[in-house]
Structure formats: structure tokens, C-alpha cells
Symmetry: C2
DNA sequence: CTGTTAGCGCTTTCAC
DNA sequence: GTGAAAGCGCTAACAG
């Protein structure tokens, strides 16, 4: 076939130096519309044309401008991901899972870390303006799920790691009640009976659920629950364990709201000359990478954190495909035994 | 026929029910162009009109569609951030700094975590297609800086944490030579003389620079450098320290390539019944959050990691403003003394 | 000062 | 099967 090469160089100058679909069309000797159809591979178009256009596109390293596609199609193949605190190691693991899954779907993740409700509202608006097709929100930066719903408008939304307080919104969670119960049973099995729980921030559903699981299991064993408020942070874990140990009937074992608090508790015990697990058995929650890095390694309730992210992406994809049913997906947890628990 | 539109999506249905600038213009009784100027607040326009249009925009909660702006303006006010591994706690801290700075500039960060050169090439192309205005690349996923330059095309580029191997590209780094030297001097000051160094992966410029700083300082003190290869990971740190301790003339102190390796070394010593810092003093590098969380707390060379990110954003902003000068910005390091170092 | 017009790069009718 | 043209929402000449 005769190659008619018409003013490739000229069209090259247009735009920002990158080849666009006009260049492809010109080089292939077809109209822009045909080039578009050929690239999409759908619509009424001959196989020969498809092949020819694609060959040209390949040669010229053509990548369709996603900005233009987004504007034209009304969707961007990108999703917004809002996390509360990127420096808390729990979230990067989740983000990694989400990003991997999104990439596999040909979507891009627009990440944003909020600092409180006001910032979150603005962050979500920015992402809306950037045309994300849907949102994954980890936790809930707002007082209510209504506020969250309002902030994302009509876009599909999946909430991760908040269940109770979120109504009418698809969620991905782990079974906090079951996880907390597993921790208690593990300690009971080791012969402990003075088992306390260092909780998360009061009022949070995750906190309540874990407390519920802990309490249920304690009562089932005929024991009295004993709870110290914490905050999901190392320092709060340290403070809480000190209060418990200095109080009446100090515990011989604790379950904690998360691994950070567990590490804080562990360090506090060691700092006052105690030994873990001899003087105190500790069970964390989450199994973040840190749990493996401390010494002794932290016995903990593992959530497959990356799966929370990838499941959220899958769930969002389902919604983007038109399925509007509200689903609550609950992932399993399991005990990972390391070095912070031992017989009473 | 004027009112008949080819596509039946009315303006209100388009997007997702969000008000657009046509709605604003109509409501304010001006043309779209005038509304645009009023929102931008520049061009020849009366103060009264500006006020009126903005009032309407406020009332209707108007946010300009950034996709459309991007297409029209040829820039998106977004930057691509490529990191090697989001689950290594070093990077989230850097990302947090970058995101904060970018937000302050009204830019959005498109994050992507690569897994090797092939993935990076594709990731960068995707971000290019999404129209990012520039790139921040942490490390260099490729063999050469040329490949990196090619992958980002003509877009502004800032490389973080790689200096030597990157030519003709603006960089933000910390002074690894100086940092490594500080670590050695600290140990010398404590009376140590058998000081080893657990290095990063061979061939990496960061590795070489830290080795250089360590060696220089050792020789200046009339001591023989002693280096064990590591890999920036916990496990490699553990293995390296075992090799050193089981070899001839076991060291009484080590400096390490990063905090993860330091933690690995620390755990290995403790695991074989040793005590840190009594049996071995350890100095980490980076001061990631983890350094505070282990027990005893890790003495380390602090890079202000968040600043690496925010400086990179600033540097990129400078380039986006038209300043094409290649700059190398070097941030300081300092010793953070915690519990892993003690007198010999 | 304001409106009209022409695009940004792509997709998608609608004719031929 | 293919091309011409409209249009996504916005900005920026250029007239008036």
C-alpha cells in the first residue's frame, strides 16, 4: 500500500508536542472519527483499518489524552481515596492494596489525606472537580454519614473500616467483634483471667465493636470486663497500661485497640523494668508491618489490610458498572501469634 | 434550529448534576465568557459584575470543572509522584510532606507506586496521559537518568534522594556524606573504636555516599573501615550484624544504612541474648516514625523526611513558573540521640 | 466592559 | 465503513 505522508511535522507542532489522535488520523490517511473508532475497537469499522491505525499509533507512541477523554466521556477512570493519616502505617498498606487493584482496572488513584472534617470537605470537593468517578473513604471524617454522602454528591462511594455509623452506603470492614473475641480466647487459653482491654477513642464504632467482642467473650468466661480508654496511638497505649498496672487488681494480659497502642503498652512495661510477655501478655490489632519489627514480635489480630483496599476498589467498580445495591462486605481476621503472649 | 441539541444530555444532566459555568452565566444574566472572567478575577471586567457573578456562584455552589480547565489551559495543576514502595515507612512521610505543600499551591498529587522499571515506565506514561504538569520521582527506578528523562518527556522533573547518578535534573537530597560522618563521630565520642557500617545495596549512590562519609571519618580517626553489605531492610540488617559479630574483631558499635536495617540489627542482637546498647551501640539513618516506636528508641541520623517532599514540590513549582535552571538542593541532617547508643 | 467565536483532544451521532 | 460536525466545560483571543 502506498503511504501518503501528509504534513506530519506540522500537526506535531500543535498541542504540547505530544502526538494526538489527529496526527494518527493524518498519518493513517483516515478521519479523526475513524481513528478514534479504530483505537476503541468498536463501532462499525473494518478490520483492515483497525490494524493500520493501530500500527501507526504504535509507531508514533500515541497515548490518548485522558483529560480530553474524560471531558468527552463524562468519566475519568480515576477514583478518589481519602485517608485520615498517611503516616499511620495502617493506611499505606491499605492504599497499596487499593492502588494495585485500581491499576489492574486501568484506573488511577487520586490520593488525599485529610486533617479533620473541614479539610476533608474541601479535599472531596477538589477531587469532585477533578472528575473522579467515585470515592473510597477510609473512616469517616464527619460527624455523620449524611455529611459524607453530601460531600461526595451523587458519585459512588465506598466506606472502609466504618460500619455501624454508615447507613445506605456500601462498606468494607473486618469483623471487629469476632477479632476482639479471638484475642480474648487466645489469652484465656493461655490461662489468663485478669485480662483488660485498652480501647480506641470513645464513640467510634470500631471502638465499640471491639469492646463488644471483648466484653462478650469475657462474660462468657464468667469474667468481669475491664476497659481503659485509649486513642489508637503509641502514647495512649503507654498511658493506659500504666493506669491499669497501677490500679487495683493489675491485669496479667491486655488486648488492645490497635498495634500502635500495643507497642506503646509494651514499651511502657519494659521501660519500668518489666518483661513482656512474662509480666504482661499483649495482643495487638491490625497486624501492621510494625508488629513484625518490634522485639519481641507482637501477637496480634491480623486484618488483611491490603485486602480492605482492594475489596473497596472492587466494590466501587461494581457500583460504577451500574449495580447500585448497597453491600457490606466483611473480611475475616485471624490470630497471628508472635512473642508478646505467654502462659499466665 | 438553535435550541435543538445533538445530544440530549441537557446541561443539567451532564457531569453529574453539578452546576457549570453556563448555569452561573445564565443565572447572573451575563455571557459565559464574562462569568469566566469574573471567576478568574482578571481581564477587563467591572467590579460590580465580578461581585454579582461570584454571589451567584457561591449560592449555586459552583466549582469549575477542573477537567475542562485542564483541557483548555493545557495544564492541570496536578503533579505526579512516583515512589518505589509505599509500605516502606520512609515514603509515606515524604508523601505527606509533598501532599501538604502541593495542596498549599492548589495542586493535586497523583500518586503512584512502581514495582520496578517496567512498571515505572508504564506508570509515568499513564500520569502523562492524565496531564500532570510535572513529576516528582523518588529514587530512580531506571538504570540511568536518561531513561527517566525520556519517560517523563518534556515535563518538569524533580528527583528526590538520588544525586550522583542524576545529571541535568533538579534534585532534592540530604547530605548523606555528612550524615554518615556525624554518626561515626557520635560513636567515637562515646569511646568506641571498633565501629562497623552496615551499608545499603551496592551500587546505589546513596549507599556509596554514606559509605564515603563513614570511611572518611573512620580514617580521620586512624581507624580501619569495616563494611557489611545490607539492603535497606530489616532482615538484611539482622543478617549483616550476625556476620559482623561472628567474624573476627566483632564491632562494639555500628552505623547503618537506614533505620530498618538498624532495627533488624537490634532485634538480632536481642534475639541472641545480647543487650542494646550495652553489647552493641547502633545508629540508624532516616529517623522514620518507627525509630521512636521500638524499645529502646533508636539513635539515628534524622533527615527531615517531610521536607524532602515539600522541597521537591517547591522546586517543581519553581520550574513550572518558568525557571529552568537545574538546582540541587541539599537538606541538613542531625543526630537524634535515643537509647541505642552508649559509652563503649 | 462585555459578548461572540474558536478552540483544547476526544467521542459519538448522523448522513452518506 | 467512513467522514463531517457537534459537543463535553472552560478559557482566551478579538471585536464591539
Amino acid at each position: 500500500m502506498l503511504l501518503v505522508r501528509n504534513r506530519l511535522r506540522t500537526t506535531f507542532e500543535s498541542g504540547s508536542g505530544v502526538t494526538n489522535i489527529r496526527d494518527i488520523a493524518a498519518e493513517a490517511g483516515v478521519s479523526v472519527a475513524t481513528a478514534s473508532r479504530a483505537m476503541a475497537g468498536k463501532g462499525r469499522i473494518s478490520a483492515a483499518t483497525v490494524e493500520r491505525v493501530r500500527a501507526v499509533a504504535e509507531r508514533l507512541q500515541f497515548r490518548p489524552n485522558e483529560i480530553a477523554r474524560s471531558l468527552s466521556l463524562g468519566r475519568s477512570q480515576s477514583v478518589g481515596l481519602l485517608v485520615p493519616d498517611i503516616t499511620n502505617p495502617f493506611f499505606p498498606e491499605l492504599m497499596a492494596g487499593a492502588e494495585r487493584a485500581a491499576k489492574a482496572q486501568g484506573r488511577t488513584v487520586l490520593l488525599t489525606a485529610s486533617l479533620g472534617a473541614e479539610s476533608a470537605r474541601e479535599d472531596l470537593r477538589v477531587l469532585c472537580a477533578r472528575g473522579v468517578d467515585g470515592f473510597i473513604v477510609v473512616g469517616n471524617p464527619f460527624e455523620s454519614s449524611g455529611e459524607l454522602r453530601e460531600a461526595v454528591g451523587s458519585r459512588p462511594l465506598v466506606v472502609v473500616d466504618r460500619a455501624q455509623s454508615v447507613t445506605g452506603i456500601s462498606t468494607v470492614v473486618t469483623d471487629h467483634v469476632a477479632g476482639a473475641a479471638i484475642a480474648v480466647r487466645h489469652l484465656l487459653g493461655l490461662g489468663h483471667s485478669r485480662i483488660a482491654h485498652i480501647s480506641g477513642p470513645p464513640g467510634l464504632d470500631v471502638t465499640d465493636l471491639r469492646i463488644a467482642g471483648y466484653s462478650r467473650e469475657m462474660r462468657a468466661a464468667g469474667l468481669e470486663p475491664r476497659i481503659a480508654d485509649g486513642e489508637f496511638t503509641v502514647d495512649s497505649g503507654a498511658e493506659a497500661i500504666i493506669r491499669l498496672l497501677d490500679g487495683p487488681h493489675p491485669p496479667t494480659a491486655v488486648t488492645t485497640a490497635n498495634d500502635l497502642a500495643a507497642v506503646g503498652a509494651m514499651n511502657a512495661v519494659i521501660a519500668r523494668g518489666g518483661h513482656v510477655p512474662r509480666d504482661l501478655s499483649i495482643v495487638g490489632y491490625d497486624d501492621i508491618v510494625l508488629a513484625r519489627l518490634v522485639h519481641p514480635g507482637l501477637t496480634t489480630i491480623a486484618q488483611t489490610i491490603g485486602d480492605l483496599g482492594s475489596c473497596a476498589v472492587e466494590e466501587l467498580d461494581r457500583q460504577l458498572s451500574g449495580d447500585t445495591e448497597v453491600r457490606r462486605r466483611s473480611l475475616g481476621t485471624r490470630l497471628v501469634e508472635r512473642g508478646t503472649t505467654a502462659a499466665a
